[in-house]
Amino acid sequence: MEKVLTSLWGVENSHKLDVYKSHGGYEMAKQVLSDWDSPKLIEHVKATGLRGRGGAGFPTGLKWSFVPIDSEKPKYLCVNADESEPGTAKDRYVLERTPHLLIEGVLIAAKALKCHHAFIYCRGEFYDQLAIVRAAVEEAKAAGIVGKNALGTGYDIQVTVHSGFGAYICGEETGLIESLEGKKGQPRIKPPFPAVHGLYGCPTVVNNVETIAALPWLIKNGPEAYKKMGTEKSPGSKLMSISGHVERPGTYEIELGMPLKDFINETAGGIWKGRKLKACIPGGSSVPVLTAEEVEKVNLDYESCAANGTMLGSGGCIVMDETVDMVHMLRVLGHFYSHESCGQCTPCRRGTSWAHRTLCRIDDGEGKPEDVETLLHIANNMTGRTICPLADALAMPIKSFLTKFREEFDYKARTGKSLVQPGKAA
């Protein structure tokens, strides 16, 4: 498989401008900025079938086409580098290893959107990555790649790197925009959509790091080459992070459509310590969990995941072996989402916290048998009733954990004891 995003991984000083340039860096940007116009670029990206890599998988070219390109208002591009989904660690490597690949992507996307000011919104906890990206932008500025008359093409493009302050919700595109405007990061009600009314009330596109970083390759190799990889509806490659009980956890670029079992067993070296697979969350902690049997059937593309009742999401694959206590696992997720709820909508503010407390009670052996039903009740009642999907992001794991591992919850709620012994294989 051709490497779209990771060809420079492993190359020494791949984050430096000269190294990047010596591998053909910024040639595509230069070509695009001087010769391509916006409609051609949008059509090109549409033709590649590239889908947003932030989690929703929305077609990127289509998203761009919603922007009133000829509006008199300034158009903004925001690169979403607020990667916070538990289990996901892909954007951080793009930022660390090939920040110039991202910047080149920014130049290309900016041209497509007639945008002259792009923002890279970096997760607050990405302390080192922020420094690397900032340095890369400075390097690019000094080399005349970013700024007025970028690459000598006459196109002006300013790039601002902005640090978040450690809030998961600022990875939601309207929450990101609010935060970038200097407000408390709380998602906005859509419509209006950012494409029309986004940052400072202007047309705005928010794209994930991985999506933007794929653009230089797409320009160079064209839609056909990209579509040769992956499946019909999920073309191309994807960065997948794999963590948990596997021999070789890490971040890998895979061809979409790869069987999940191959990804776990071959790419990641299989379950550690010779144990058995119990469960797997394929796309970041907010997507429904899969049992070991289901893992056998699922391929890593948007359609196959959906057909099996889960989602590819942001590609944060979490693998659990047979010693994992699912009650405790869900408690950890509950803690995350109740901590990260912005507090704006009633069902999420109260529901995530109530669910977490209920989970703590069961996990601490102080639960009551009816607590399990209460959990389901909470999850059902907060699904689809809020401004953004954060409530759903906890509701989905709760519902899937309770559907697929119900006996563990019932047992612990009833007896106060776990059905599995953590750390000990059956």
């Binding site: 919700i169 408390k184 901590h339 709820s341 009633t346 069902p347 503010r349 995530t352 109530w354 009733r385």
Partner: protein
């Protein structure tokens, strides 16, 4: 005008109106907390969800703009909506302290109302596992915040930002520990309209120091009235119980005060129970001091003296001064009494600037502290105070009948008036207060506060607005209308009888500027004077 079908009935909506506004305009009630017609919508409480045909999920009706042909189902026809609202109620009450027995909002709390309407489930959360948050935080001397009762609807935040134009409140923290806060520890609310956030708080999170722990709201009677704090005439609802007034709350009137009122005006109800209130008539009994007396004596004695003076000096020796603090009806009866009984006598009205205090602010305060400043002009009382003072100084005016004002202590003419008053053979002051001018009077007629009587005020824009008695006249005070009618009887003059309402109808039939108006037609929102 887009057409929308709500619960099977078609309505015409205003262009760009939201679904909840359209429902409200057509009398369809949708449960809501964060939406307020006077503030921008926020869509955070999730109580006003409705089913919109073709929409994938329930939509917040406060954030959904009506489109032509839209088909909406509210809680009245949709089980899905009722379920969602029941769930929102459950979520809101998860961490609520349920301290209704000691909460001032109890009885007018949206959480209680909607619990009865939508929820009615027992709590699934034990009290000891609730999230605790700060209690009794002083946002200012007037406003106290209880974060545990707060449902974070952010109406208060939006009021400060959008109506007062002050960035003073915000939501801090995240998730279940979110709360409303001032931006730093030393800060206090600084606006002149801050207590409105207590009114619009749908729950008991914000309370007003003046009303806290004073009276359970279900014991009170509620009377529509007018704030007499300035010439705006903000519409209010008076809360009272057992002859005591406890509070004003603003009452919606889009032409006057919208939904709001100022903090200063809000406390003017206290004047009805103020220390200087005059609750019995007084009569000077020789020397400089007056003593309490009964109505028969004070009326008879005044009538005797005035008749004697009239006989000796002619009708023009008797003068009158109306008041912008008194009702239109009192000023009118004073005019009628003098026209009937003392032809050619002066009936003056204080100049418009008598109660000017600072300029108008950008919201409601007019800077004119008199509630009825327009009454003189509307009734054609054109004689000036100066001309009356000159008459007294020249010795042509011997007796004076005054309504309300403390002219011996107010305004640029105070000193001159006080001095002139010494020369009067008979000074009658009809006032709710025993003020400096009343203390100089030979007869002091204990009149009611406007909260104890019926009548109208004309605001600075010429809007005639009714007020009704919230409490009965205290002790022996009588309404100004009645005192004037009693006085007329004692003097043998024929003036319109009845209470404020009847007097107003008589006035409207006679006075040109009031033509077309009637007590009933004024309604709760008032009406403008004819030009």
């Amino acid at each position: 005008m887009p057409k929308i079908t709500i619960d099977g009935t078609e309505f015409e909506a205003k262009d760009g109106a939201t679904v909840i506004q359209t429902c409200a305009d057509n009398g369809i009630d949708i449960g809501h907390y964060c939406w307020h017609p006077g503030l921008s919508p926020e869509g955070n409480c999730r109580m006003c969800l409705v089913e919109v045909e073709k929409a994938p999920k329930l939509m917040p009706s406060c954030m959904t703009t009506v489109g032509d042909g839209m088909v909406v189902k509210t809680q009245h026809t949709s089980e899905k909506v009722r379920e969602a609202q029941r769930d929102v109620m459950e979520f809101l009450l998860v961490d609520h302290p349920i301290d209704c027995p000691i909460c001032d909002q109890a009885g007018e709390c949206k959480l209680q109302d909607y619990y009865m309407q939508y929820d009615r489930q027992p709590s699934q959360v034990p009290l000891d596992s609730k999230v605790h948050k700060p209690k009794r935080q002083k946002f200012s001397e007037q406003v106290t915040y209880d974060a545990e009762r707060c449902i974070l609807c952010t109406r208060c935040v939006r009021f400060c930002r959008e109506i007062e134009g002050k960035e003073e409140l915000g939501m801090i923290n995240r998730g279940a520990v979110s709360l409303i806060s001032l931006y730093n520890d030393e800060a206090k609310l600084s606006g002149d309209y801050q207590v409105n956030i207590v009114d619009i708080c749908p729950v008991g999170a914000l309370t007003h120091s003046d009303f806290r722990f004073k009276k359970r709201v279900w014991f009170m009677d509620y009377t529509p009235s007018i704030c007499a704090g300035c010439s705006r005439g903000c519409n209010v609802t008076v809360g009272s119980h057992n002859a005591k007034v406890y509070r004003y709350k603003p009452r919606e009137n889009q032409d006057v005060n919208q939904w709001w009122m100022c903090d200063e005006g809000r406390l003017t109800y206290k004047q009805v129970h103020a220390e200087g209130r005059l609750l019995k008539p007084r009569l000077r009994s020789g020397g400089d001091n007056s003593e309490y007396t009964d109505w028969r004596r004070v009326l008879d004695r005044s009538a005797d003296v005035i008749k004697l003076l009239e006989k000796k000096e002619g009708p023009q020796a008797i003068a009158a001064i109306g008041s912008p603090l008194a009702s239109t009806e009192e000023n009118y009866l004073l005019k009628k009494l003098f026209a009937a009984r003392f032809p050619g006598a002066k009936v003056a009205f204080p100049a418009a600037d008598l109660y000017k205090e600072g300029g108008p602010d950008k919201l409601l305060k007019t800077g004119d502290k008199a509630p009825n400043a327009r009454a003189g002009a509307a009734l054609g009382l054109t004689d000036t105070i100066e001309s009356v003072i000159e008459g007294i100084e020249a010795g042509t005016i011997k007796a004076l009948y005054m309504l309300g004002d403390d002219l011996a202590a107010t305004g640029p003419l105070a000193e001159r008036f006080a001095k002139a008053a010494e020369k009067l053979s008979w000074l009658m002051v009809q006032s709710p207060y025993y003020h400096a001018t009343a203390q100089r009077a030979h007869a002091v007629l204990a009149a009611t506060h406007h909260l104890e009587s019926q009548g109208t005020f004309i605001n600075f824009e010429g809007r005639v607005q009714r007020f009704a008695p919230a409490i009965k006249p205290q002790v022996e005070a009588r309404t100004g209308v009645q005192i004037l009618q009693d006085m007329a009887a004692a003097l043998g003059a024929d003036i319109p009888g009845g209470e404020g309402a009847q007097v107003f109808d008589a006035l409207a039939a006679e006075e040109k500027q009031f033509s077309g108006l009637s007590w009933n037609a004024l309604g709760d929102q008032g009406a403008k004077l004819g030009q």
